[in-house]
């Protein structure tokens, strides 16, 4: 094992997959010579050259379209979109083209394409650089949506995403880029579609994503001191959802809290709650509670009031237990 930061785990994944498979290439704004706005692609140009590491103009729709065309011809593009908020300028290419190509053309093509993009607040980057929009993409058949929270998962899932023959929206988190964690020295993959029990517990299930996994673990530690044993599940993949792991946990705890940084209303938590309310309502001993951002844009210098945190999770868990 070795300790790496989340951002460097991404770089390692890109490095290894590019070395492993010549059809993998990296494309995006400032990814080659500058090594990426958040330095995720640092060193790739030096290692793999201009043919496979491509700086582009600020033309997101053209970038994603290019990647799609290339993917239909057997290449495996890894696109970087600098902030998740900017997926909005290439939404047609992602939703109407990339996601639908395989299905609408009757299976004639494979679309092995990864779009990496960072979500989330924490940098006071304001309303157009801080959003978490993953629930949109989970509503789009044909895409997979992955959202890892740790260096271990980000590396293993990125490698798995690059090897997947389907389009994957790979949602990183800016606030986690500096986070350190252990990863194996050797090659490993983390399977898409599998949630991970980050901390077992018997009293309440907390299903969390991305940064809120860490907030939930913190909450679990706090609650443990009060004798409450929380099970923290890191969803890791938003689409397809890992029903099984969630259901198993809820069967055990009978209490469910979902925690994400995205706006609570119409977020990922809604689908998880609905799924449980649809298929295992009798197991529940309490309302399904959701922790998420309030219904506002992400305000610049009020971000700290906006971002959901460990305290919110503690409060929700206690409310679920008090029921």
């Amino acid at each position: 094992m070795k300790e790496v930061r989340y951002i460097r785990a991404i770089t390692e994944a890109l490095n290894e997959e590019m070395a492993r498979d010549e059809s993998v290439f990296v494309i995006g704004e400032d990814v080659a010579y500058p090594g990426g706005s958040f330095s995720a692609t640092r060193g790739l140009l030096e290692e793999f050259g201009e043919r496979r590491v491509k700086d582009t103009p600020i033309s997101e729709a053209a970038i994603v379209g290019l990647a799609l065309g290339a993917a239909t011809q057997g290449l495996r593009p890894v696109v970087e979109i600098m902030f998740m908020d900017f997926l909005t300028v290439c939404m047609d290419q992602i939703v109407n083209q990339v996601a639908k190509t395989r299905y609408m053309f009757g299976g004639q093509y494979q679309v092995p394409l990864v779009i990496r993009t960072p979500c989330g607040g924490g940098l006071n980057a304001g309303p157009q650089h801080s959003q978490c929009l993953e629930s949109w993409f989970a509503h789009v058949p044909g895409l997979k949506v992955v959202m890892p929270a740790t260096p271990y998962d980000v590396k293993g899932l990125l490698k798995a995403s690059i090897r997947d023959d389907n389009p994957v929206l790979f949602v990183e988190n800016k606030a986690l880029y500096g986070l350190k964690g252990e990863i194996p020295e050797e090659d490993y993959l983390v399977p898409i579609g599998k949630a991970d029990v980050k901390k077992p517990g018997k009293d309440v299930t907390v299903v969390a994503t991305s940064r809120m996994v860490h907030q939930s673990l913190e909450a679990a530690r706090t609650l443990f001191e009060e004798g409450i044993e929380v099970e923290v599940i890191d969803l890791r993949t938003i689409s397809p959802l890992d029903k099984e792991t969630i259901f198993q946990s809820v069967e055990k705890t009978s209490r469910l809290v979902v925690a994400h940084e995205a706006v609570k209303t119409f977020g990922v938590g809604a689908e998880i709650a609905a799924m449980v309310a649809e298929e295992m309502i009798d197991c529940l001993d309490a309302p399904i509670l959701r922790v998420g951002a309030p219904f506002t844009p992400v305000p610049f210098n009020l971000e700290r009031f906006y971002l959901p945190n460990a305290e919110d999770v503690v409060r929700a868990v206690k409310k679920a237990l008090a029921y």
Binding site: F25, S59, A61, A62, V64, G69, A70, Q93
Partner: protein, 317 residues
């Protein structure tokens, strides 16, 4: 040019015309679901351009894409079956007229989103460069599409990276029910090429030989690694935007007038003059085409309507 080439072009233009006429008929009978956009009057463009392509070249297409797919070599039976939405169609009935793709022919898909196919064409071109082969991509779109942001982003990137794409604007003077002068101040859209540092040419899109000649130059250029270009072919849409559109926004006189530019008649006249064709040949070609179409229609109508079993298939691999 070899006589066979000329005759093949003549055959293909006529075939596209007759296929679309038949599609209109069948559509009017209510046998074809969805939207149909025919390109009657515009046949010289796809035929001129595609006659300059190799079978392994790529083609990115639009909603008005029957002619291009056929000119690139689409099998009429599978084509017709897709228009009907049948199992033996190119896309198993999931695409229809607006989305036909033929992977084996490099036809990477018609697109229902105006301008949506332009960025994708960069990708096949990029793949050629990446793999070190010399397959060229032709990307078709309409005059209206040149006002979408994707047009701009794509041409800039293609020029910058010197990608082997020929951007072919089929300028029929209309974007749905809106004439060109209501969607741009420009007369010739090919001057937009200068904005990207690539050559742009406007040609008479009703003259298949002129289209072919210009396309050959630009395709050869791209194949040699000299980069992309913009080819504007001015032509005319005879019928409505989609099947069922009665064109109330156009005067009867205008609709008559544009027919005087008939690219097929023009080409036939030339071939007759040059004695490459005689009237009997034309009759025979017509008859051949008719029987091909009859066969394709019969094939399509016999092909099974897709059942629910395919509904969940091919969302993912």
């Amino acid at each position: 040019m070899k006589k066979e080439t000329l005759l093949q072009m003549h055959y293909m233009m006529l075939k596209i015309r007759r296929v679309e006429e038949r599609i209109l008929e069948i559509f009017a009978q209510g046998k074809i679901p969805g939207f149909i956009h025919v390109s009657i009057g515009q046949e010289a463009v796809p035929v001129g351009v595609c006659s300059a392509l190799r079978p392994d070249d790529y083609l990115s297409n639009t909603h008005r894409g029957h002619g291009q797919a056929l000119a690139k070599g689409a099998d009429l039976k599978r084509f017709m079956a897709e228009i009907y939405g049948r199992k033996d169609g190119y896309c198993q009935g999931k695409a229809g007229s607006m989305h036909i793709a033929c992977n084996d022919l490099g036809v990477i898909g018609s697109n229902g989103v105006v301008g949506g196919g332009i960025p994708i064409s960069l990708g096949t071109a990029f793949a050629s460069v990446y793999k070190g082969n010399d397959r060229v991509t032709v990307c078709f779109f309409g005059d209206g599409a040149t006002n979408e942001g994707t047009f701009h982003e794509s041409l800039n990137l293609a020029a910058l990276w010197n990608l082997p794409v020929v951007f072919c604007c089929e300028n029929n003077g209309w974007a749905e029910f809106t004439p060109q002068k209501v969607h741009t101040k420009l007369e010739n859209l090919s001057i937009r090429a200068e904005s990207y540092g690539m050559p742009g040419v406007t040609v008479d899109g009703n003259d298949v030989l002129i289209v072919k000649e210009e396309a050959e130059k630009l395709i050869a250029r791209a194949r040699k690694g000299e980069g992309p270009s913009l080819l504007e072919c001015k032509t005319h849409r005879w019928f409505g935007h989609f099947a069922g559109d009665a064109q109330k926004y156009r005067s009867a006189q205008e609709i008559e007038e544009v027919k005087s530019f008939d690219p097929i008649l023009k080409f036939q006249k030339l071939l007759l003059e040059k004695k490459h064709l005689n009237p009997k040949d034309i009759e025979e070609t017509e008859a051949k085409i008719k029987s091909e179409i009859d066969e394709a229609v019969a094939f399509a109508e016999k092909s099974p309507i897709p059942g629910i079993e395919g509904l969940l298939e091919n969302v993912y691999t």
